[in-house]
Symmetry: C2
Subunit: 333 residues, 2 copies
């Protein structure tokens, strides 16, 4: 059997170019005792992946040159040899990487039991983005009823879920998005109280209009000028959750928040989070999010593109904003 796998071929400076990766074909070896052959169906495309291909270690080891590009996946066990962790036919969520097949003893994978054919939700609202939104808004943001919650990247996988959870908890929720379509989406489909289109509007004025009493919790996925604008309108004891900074990931030199002294004036807190710290509580979050979805309280949207050959163009959608909801690359039909 022939595998297709996407190898990191060089470290990008700025926006990755196509030659950052190389798609190669390779014959798969025979399974050894205890090994499984997993066929990947869906690959998760996440902003964090940009950080993983930098040379410097951050919260996780960088992907090495020559290594398969790290990615979350949904796959199916299609062959086993001997006694294995999972059985043939099982669906698994895990770190399968950007490749059609992998041979594994099951490390970094866990079984999923899809109720219907919506497999991609397990790398979206019930996967890493879901966990990030859940623990980020509840445990880091410490939202409480009546809080004014501002969320950037609000039409994305994490932001859309964080906002909906804040609505469930009785907050006033405003989202910042790029484009009218997304602005309508978060209000009409997701039930946000307001939307700010950073591509059209004056973000500073619009935050003031939408949050006239100021912001209790700012959940930041983007960084840059939008973070700086949000800082202006903090309320006393406000919490800023630094979940991501998509506007900065392709910058050689990141741009910090010049208005950070608003933290001092307002006794506010800015705190960074990494979802992996909550791994011991994922199952609890998955159960609750799953219930909210069943009850119709949360809508989950996946934006799915097809073909491992189209990884590069699809990946760029993370940064040019040309997607809605969770970005997924389907590699098996």
């Amino acid at each position: 059997m022939i595998n297709k796998k996407l190898i990191l071929s060089k470290r990008p400076i700025g926006v990755p170019k196509k030659d950052t990766w190389n798609l190669i074909e390779e014959e798969l070896p025979n399974l050894k005792e205890g090994e499984m052959l997993i066929e990947n169906h869906y690959v998760s495309l996440d902003p964090a992946m940009r950080g993983w291909i930098n040379e410097t270690r951050s919260y996780i080891k960088p992907v090495a040159i020559g290594e398969v590009m790290r990615a979350g996946t949904i796959g199916k066990v299609i062959d086993v040899k001997g006694k294995t962790s999972f059985k043939k036919g099982d669906f698994l969520s895990g770190w399968g990487g950007v490749q059609k097949y992998l041979i594994s003893k099951g490390e970094g994978h866990y079984p999923i039991n899809p109720k219907n054919d919506n497999l991609p939700i397990y790398i979206g609202s019930l996967g890493m983005p879901g966990m990030t939104a859940y623990f980020g808004i509840l445990e880091e943001g410490k939202i409480k009823e009546g809080d004014v919650v501002l969320i950037s990247g609000a039409a994305g996988a994490v932001g859309s879920l964080a906002g909906q959870i804040a609505k469930i908890k009785g907050c006033k929720v405003i989202g910042i998005v790029g484009g009218e379509k997304k602005a309508n989406y978060i209000i009409d489909e997701l039930g946000f109280d307001g939307a700010i289109d950073y591509k059209k509007d004056n973000v500073i004025k619009d935050i003031k209009r939408e949050c006239p009493k100021g912001i209790d919790v700012y959940f930041d996925n983007v960084g840059g000028k939008i973070l700086d604008s949000a800082l202006i309108y903090l309320r006393m004891n406000a919490r800023i959750v630094i979940c991501g900074a998509i506007s900065q990931y392709n910058n050689v030199k990141a741009e910090g928040p010049n208005n950070y002294l608003s933290l001092l004036v307002n006794r506010a807190t800015m705190k960074g989070m990494i979802v992996f710290d909550y791994a011991h509580k994922y199952s609890e979050a998955m159960k609750e999010i799953s219930n909210w979805i069943d009850q119709g309280k949360i809508k989950s949207k996946e934006d799915i593109y097809y073909g491992i050959e189209n990884f590069y163009e699809t990946f760029l959608r993370l940064f040019n904003g040309d997607k809605l909801g969770k970005l997924v690359l389907q590699i098996k039909k």
Copy 2:
């Protein structure tokens, strides 16, 4: 009787010029029932005063044009009429402003009972800077034994005390200062474990050398490039206490910390503080600091200059670094 008082005459842009204030003479009216005449002996000069003369409200109302410049003071009641809050001869700490005398019913003042003739300590280690250091390092920084604590402005009124308290609590304490004299002072006199001279050394390399395992708590009085350098070496769950930003107070546009994403990678917290929030616990802190001073565990240094006419030149020492310890203007000999 003739009063001399320093009036705010215009709002400065950048470093205040001499004509920001105007020293005027004015005849004092007679005391009315319940009023006291207070003669100010010492005026506290603090970096925060720069913020109070900006037009924009921050955590406290700006000083108005034509108003006496706000300042903490140590004064003595020299006359009273009728039934008053304090009696003739009492020493008071309070918000007396930059003026030789004031007539007051006692609002914003509390009595002090100096053990010896060291009156200025009541606007230093036992005053606002002392309270800031105490609550900043203990309650905001949440220091614990063994923590690596980095402090900027370490030879100043707040930094020197915060560092000494961290030493008492069993931390490793490194100070950042300007100049060799201050570097020697914090090591030899105050018992810091190390010093970085930002005027001479490469701050980034030196933090790495002095804190090879990284920083648990960074207590920031200066902002700017030094804050940005400290961010590089955070340990997991580090706490940054934003107490001040003296490098930024005279900037028209503040410069934010470009390395703020270190908060994300290290799950770290950056939190602003204003000492007034701890007013209900000042007496507790004053008692403990006073004991530490009596036990020789804390050294308190005041840098005293004379003459209300010299306010301007003395005030500038806050920003050009030409002082050691708590800066005080004595206006009565």
